[in-house]
């Protein structure tokens, strides 16, 4: 664990000395996006990183005036986070007696994008793999949103497909938003996450559809939305509606 933190610190330092590296945006829930150069971007959530080291690298392979192709590669090391939530009493998400080994997951996706002046459409497909120690004594987190995202902690892999659509249906820009202007944009964001969760016994799935309004005013963005999740899980068929809210700060 120490080696990994050291490695991440060295990487951060190395990036920071490069003139091109800059923070693009960060949010309360959204990860911090760090632009390395025109083709590469890193993202991680700095607070969550402290208890679950994670990061993803987004590389642009090809682009023309309408389409882009990217690939996204990430990792997560959730052992420390899981140990902190294996407790008795409130916020004991896992049983206290859980034996949590070293868990490393890595996700690789390919993304195609189509964009115009007022819209952006992304189709992303890929898989996540878990390289785990002995997780025999580790129970799953059996809740719709959490189960697919923690599936590789106890199983070897999952498939994940995302359909993302963003439409700007209101925009007002006085000077290209480069100075202290009064730029205002309102976006409608729609996203479908489709998880295929193979286990030893069966194939389960989760489908999450979210709809959000995103309002951006110069350096701040406010996102408010709902996510509808449904799926077939080892603990039965479940669905639910979940609200979400975030504030994203953009560095211009």
């Amino acid at each position: 664990m120490r080696k990994l933190v050291l490695f991440c610190c060295i990487c951060s330092l190395a990036f920071s000395v490069s003139a091109q590296v800059r923070i693009k945006s960060f949010g309360i829930v959204d990860p911090m996006r760090i632009s390395i150069n025109e083709k590469n971007e890193l993202s991680t959530h700095p607070v969550l990183f402290l208890i679950m080291p994670h990061a993803s690298w987004n590389h642009k392979w090809w682009e023309d005036d309408q389409f882009r192709v990217r690939s996204i590669h990430g990792f997560r090391i959730p052992s420390l986070l899981l140990r902190s939530i294996a407790r008795e009493g409130a916020f004991g998400i896992l049983p206290k007696e859980s034996m949590i080994p070293f868990i490393f997951t890595t996700k690789h996706q390919i993304q195609g994008e189509m964009y115009g002046d007022k819209f952006l459409f992304k189709l992303r497909m890929g898989a996540e793999f878990g390289l785990n120690g002995n997780t025999e004594n580790l129970t799953t987190i059996d809740y719709p949103l959490l189960f697919p995202r923690s599936h590789t902690f106890t199983n070897s892999f999952l498939w994940e497909n995302n359909f993302i659509f963003s439409l700007e249906f209101y925009g007002k820009s006085t000077d290209g938003c480069t100075g202290l202007s009064t730029c205002r944009f309102l976006f409608l964001d729609a996203k479908i996450n489709h998880f295929i969760l193979p286990t030893a016994e069966d194939n389960y799935f989760a489908l999450e559809t979210s709809l959000a309004l995103r309002y951006e005013r110069f350096t701040k963005g406010y996102k408010l939305g709902v996510k509808y999740s449904s799926g077939s899980f080892p603990f039965g068929n479940m669905d639910g509606v979940f609200p979400f809210l975030d504030v994203v700060f953009k560095i211009r």
Binding site: E88, F91, G92, E97, D142, Y143, G225, V226, F242, P243
Partner: protein, 355 residues
């Protein structure tokens, strides 16, 4: 623009208001009926064997965190199967016509998503069942409990109908947050038809919460429900979490290792007369004079499996007649025919009911 945002916020609020973890009860989900896959033939009888048992969700004597004896909160599949098979074996040995069960899990994480109603009905001579939950949540974010659905059940060889879930008062002292995820006690009421005769069956599992008047309030609701059934054949019982009058030991039980609090579940002082109303107006399976003479022969509960049954919390009453001398508190081989200490933290009571 403002209108769109306002509509969106209202929609968001409406969608997510009220019950995000699905812990509340509505009319549709209150009671669930079950049938066994293979029906056992039944004959119309003048006497019925009736039993009650808190089966501790198939947890047998594993050391769960809530008993302060260990830190277990979730069982393995093998443990659940093994424990349920032993419970099934005991039920088949007694072979009751009607069985009141408490702490039956239906698709809960802690018991590996077993439907215990199906499991028991398909492995015993009981043909019909009704179930109502007293603890339900899509997710309980505490001690790794996760998804929960546990409650009261009535199983019978004879058809069941008109099942009702009667809600009991909640603990007012609890914060709204705790109360939201906490147990919602109830009375499960159902009618069974034996030939031409109708018998009303009521099963309940009252709060263990001490230090307030909640038990009295819940017993008062039970009494009112029974008053409405005057003139009908009624058997009621369950885990009342209350000691009978004339109990010698009311606190400082040897197996209570949890820190003592104001709401100590294991201190029954001041509750001595709570059940007098029922002993005065109904016939108890275990007559009070028998209990008074030798408390220990009728104890039905102990927390630690290394401490023999040390208190009576489980009851059967009727407004008709239990056949004298047919009651059995299944404490051990000599009293019930099998060893029961290892099956649950409660033991079964059975009795013959005369129509």
């Amino acid at each position: 623009m403002k209108k769109i945002i306002i509509v969106f916020i209202i929609l968001l609020g409406t969608l997510t208001a009220c019950d995000p973890f699905n812990t509340q009860f509505d009319e549709v989900t209150k009671v669930k009926y079950y049938n066994s896959v293979v029906q056992t033939e039944t004959t119309v009888k003048d006497t019925l064997s009736i039993a009650t048992w808190n089966i501790k969700f198939g947890g047998a004597r594993l050391n769960f965190f809530f008993d302060c004896l260990g830190d277990r909160s979730v069982m393995t599949k093998e443990e659940v199967e093994r424990n349920l098979d032993k419970i099934t074996e005991k039920i088949n040995q007694v072979n009751p016509d009607v069985l009141l069960l408490q702490e039956v899990d239906v698709l809960s994480k802690r018991s590996q998503y077993f439907d215990m109603m199906e499991y028991l009905l398909n492995r015993t001579n009981l043909n019909y069942g009704v179930y109502t939950s007293q603890w339900k949540a899509d997710y309980i974010p505490s001690s790794g409990i996760g998804k929960m659905n546990s409650g009261n059940a009535i199983l019978s060889k004879y058809p069941l109908s008109s099942a009702e879930r009667i809600a009991l008062p909640l603990i007012e002292e609890q914060s709204e947050f705790t109360q939201y995820f906490y147990l919602k006690r109830n009375i499960l009421k159902v009618k069974t038809l034996v030939g031409e005769k109708e018998l009303y069956l009521l099963n309940t599992h009252l709060t263990a919460y001490g230090g307030s008047n909640i038990k009295e309030e819940q017993l008062s609701v039970l009494s009112s429900v029974l008053d409405e059934l005057k003139g009908k054949y009624v058997v009621f019982g369950g885990d009342l979490n209350t000691l009978p009058p004339h109990t010698y030991l009311k606190k400082d039980f040897a197996d209570n290792v949890c820190p003592v609090t104001e709401t100590d579940d294991n201190n029954y002082e001041g509750e001595e007369e709570f059940l007098s109303l029922f002993y005065d107006n109904y016939q108890a399976a275990v007559p009070l004079e028998n209990y008074k003479a030798r408390n220990e022969l009728y104890f039905t509960h102990s927390i630690d499996q290394n401490v023999f049954w040390n208190r009576k919390l489980d009851y059967l009453f009727t407004n008709q007649t239990f056949i004298k001398g047919t009651d059995i508190t299944h404490q051990n081989i000599s009293q019930g025919g099998t060893e029961t200490m290892s099956l649950s933290d409660h033991t079964m009571i059975s009795v013959e009911f005369e129509f």
